[in-house]
């Protein structure tokens, strides 16, 4: 994989160019290109096996692309995996401190305090992560992704294990982040969530990026009068033989 600096003629915080990923004879991604801009919340949607997690994993630096390039190194990208990547035997503060130190932050203690404050977990700092609710674990998961104050935050199915109230809090938090200038991209199966919170959707099918635009543009693209984005998405896939 190669990374290049963001070009001056673009407002892109992160640009992916012609990303291709092959696992043996199977091609998981086929020449995917797109840009993420500051303050955007981009939803990556698609049927199972479309390549959503593979795309985010490449953007996060977990998987190397077979071909293509990115404009930022993985260390500049915040990563929030689907399953909270935390040490359940350690406390909230110990988890944050560990990753702050591994990131070589100049003031790890200040970074921990800042993230405890931003995620509202200050009162649970000494609690073992294994004893937290799924929602609070996800908040710690996101907090670790934000320790380096990245310009881009990637979230893989961030609300999958949360109840409605926890989801609401999560999206409030992400909305605040985007409002402060962070570019956010998330994958989801929940198209209604994409419609509600995303400023743009990327439709990925069989490793190909078939659509990039606002939810409204996707509804317009399929014509007729779809009830909502989910109906438009289903018709979009149907029209393309899926």
């Amino acid at each position: 994989m190669s990374t290049t600096a963001p070009t001056g003629d673009s407002l892109a915080t992160l640009a992916a160019r012609s990303l291709t990923k092959r696992f043996g004879s199977r091609t998981a991604l086929r020449g995917v290109s797109f840009e993420l801009r500051a303050q955007e919340i981009v939803a990556v949607i698609g049927p199972n096996g479309a390549g959503k997690t593979t795309l985010l994993s490449i953007l996060a630096g977990i998987l190397p692309p077979t071909e293509g390039e990115l404009t930022r190194s993985p260390r500049e990208v915040g990563w929030v995996p689907q399953q909270p990547a935390l040490y359940s035997k350690l406390s909230v503060a110990q988890n944050l401190e560990l990753f702050a130190r591994l990131e070589n932050l100049p003031d790890p203690d200040a970074a921990v305090a800042r993230m405890l404050d931003e995620t509202g977990l200050g009162g649970r700092a000494d609690d073992e992560v294994g004893r937290l609710s799924a929602g609070n674990r996800q908040r710690v998961n996101i907090a670790i992704g934000l320790l380096v104050e990245p310009p881009v935050l990637l979230l893989d199915e961030p609300s999958a294990s949360l109840d409605p109230r926890q989801r609401e809090r999560l999206w409030e938090f992400i909305g605040d982040l985007a409002a402060r200038g962070t570019a956010v991209a998330f994958s989801t199966h929940n198209v209604a969530e994409a419609e509600r919170y995303a400023t743009r959707v990327l439709v990925l099918v069989d490793g190909e990026l078939l659509f990039s635009g606002t939810p409204g543009q996707l509804e317009q693209a399929v014509g007729g009068d779809p009830r909502d984005l989910e109906a438009a998405f289903v018709r979009f896939l149907h029209d393309r033989g899926h």
Binding site: S57, A60, G61, I62, L63, S73, P74, R75, W79, P81, Q83, P84, A85, L86, Y87, S88, K89, L90, Q94, L98, F99, R101, L102, E103, E128, I144
Partner: protein, 450 residues
């Protein structure tokens, strides 16, 4: 790397049950081995019913009388006798579990022995009744009693031989024997021959008695010569074979020290394998591996940290265990720095095997189970005596023992603790090679973590 180390120690600190098990297990093992090696073996309880009345256990050999019952003392060195008053009571003791076996000495044991030593007819028999419910206990009692009965037989036969030789000497040289309380003088063959030869010489040359007396003198001469050989021959029967041992090479490990070394290496292996396999698999179970390897730590660095962590923790535990055991069994403290070297290299090799297991298993409970399943046969294979199996199986076992670290670790530690052959260089190099081999295997297997 440093912070990963701190993190893993924090996790262990928050898992007191796991740590307690990992520490208590080898320490308990060390104490058990120590006590077992320093305590004398226990004696099996045996119900003994002696049907021989007091004073009736004597046999006559020539002009001597031997008290057979006095030899029971030898037998009692191996057993804890429970004296009973009847055969039924003896059997009841065995049935109730109060005794592991019953030994019945028949009333006519003395006459049986008497018959055997005087006429060569008969087979003196004592009865042993065993509790058959536990084969190991049965074998234990059988062995304890058989060994002592063999000793009794040897003592009795030596006594018989001694008396027979003494009687032969009297037949040859003459002497005094006691018959029915009266001392009777025996002439002896040598003196008899002299008398006969003297008598024959004194007869007139044509006396018809001369040829007859010469025949008697000639027989006496031959008998003296033959019986003269009989004494040393009979003496040699008492101790027919002497084994002379020669040590060809180097120092050997004393049995006690070797048992200690095995206990220490088994503990080191178990703790290291469980820690390294479990802590690596934990990174995947907690989904943290992907987060770590996106620029924070390399996979190789993560593996090295787990190997070092497990080897360090287990090495300290093994060292403490060794120090504890050394209060029971002599270990060479002047070689302490070599103890550390041996345990460190052994720990690294086991650690590398552990991370390979963790990388293959990918899940904590599966990794722990796999570590246990691998470790026990590996230790077993390395400890099977090479001559106890056929050559084909031996080759297979040698190969298996060679590709796992237990045997090399045992050789290195054995040398470190006592200076036994072979030296440490070969085993340590072997351990280094195995460390590299298993680390490479783990590095390949860990690709499936992401």
């Amino acid at each position: 790397m440093h912070w990963l180390f701190v993190k893993d120690l924090q996790i262990l600190r928050r898992s007191p049950l796991l740590v307690a098990l990992l520490v208590v297990y080898p320490v308990a093992l060390a104490l058990m081995v120590g006590f077992a090696l320093s305590s004398p073996p226990g004696k099996p309880k045996v119900a003994v019913y002696d049907e021989v009345s007091p004073g009736r256990g004597r046999i006559s050999l020539g002009n001597q009388r031997i008290d057979i019952s006095s030899y029971a003392r030898v037998l009692y060195q191996s057993i804890e006798p429970i004296k009973v008053n009847s055969r039924a009571e003896a059997i009841a003791k065995v049935r109730s579990g109060q005794a592991l076996a019953a030994l019945i000495i028949p009333q006519d044991i003395a006459s049986q022995v008497q018959s055997l030593v005087t006429t060569g007819v008969g087979s003196p028999t004592v009865e042993l009744i065993l509790n058959s419910s536990n084969p190991l206990e049965r074998q234990y009692v059988q062995q304890a009693i058989s060994v002592r009965i063999n000793q009794v037989e040897q003592v009795v036969s030596k006594q018989v031989l001694r008396i027979a030789i003494s009687d032969l000497q009297r037949v040859l040289n003459g002497g005094t024997i006691n018959v029915a309380g009266q001392n009777v003088h025996l002439l002896g063959l040598r003196v008899s021959r002299s008398i006969v030869e003297g008598g024959a010489a004194a007869l007139p040359p044509g006396s018809p008695l001369r040829p007859a007396l010469r025949q008697v003198a000639s027989f006496a001469r031959l008998a003296i010569a033959g019986l003269g050989f009989a004494s040393p021959v009979l003496q040699s029967i008492g101790t027919p074979l002497t084994v002379q041992q020669t040590q060809l090479a180097g120092r050997t490990t004393p049995t006690d020290s070797y048992a200690v070394t095995i206990a220490v290496i088994v503990s080191l292996m178990l703790v290291t394998l469980l820690l390294s396999a479990g802590m690596l698999a934990l990174e995947r179970s907690e989904h943290t591996y992907s987060r770590l390897v996106r620029g924070l730590v390399t996979p190789g660095g993560l593996l090295s940290e787990k190997i070092a962590l497990a080897a360090g923790c287990a090495g300290i535990v093994a060292l403490v265990m060794t120090a504890l055991v050394s209060t029971f069994v002599h270990l060479d403290w002047t070689r302490f720095e070599l103890w550390i070297v041996a345990l460190a290299f052994a720990g690294l090799a086991f650690g590398a095997l552990g991370v390979a297991i963790g990388a293959l298993a990918r899940e904590v409970s599966a990794a722990s189970l796999m570590a246990l399943l691998v470790s026990l046969p590996v230790a077993f294979v390395a400890l099977v005596p090479s001559d106890a199996v056929s050559s084909g199986v031996k080759t297979l076992l040698d190969v298996v023992a060679f590709v796992f670290p237990f045997k090399a670790a045992l050789a290195a530690a054995s040398n470190a603790f006592t200076g036994a052959s072979p030296g440490m260089l070969g085993p340590v190099l072997h351990l280094v090679a195995l460390t590299v081999l298993f680390a490479v295997l783990a590095r390949v297997a860990i690709r499936r973590f992401a």
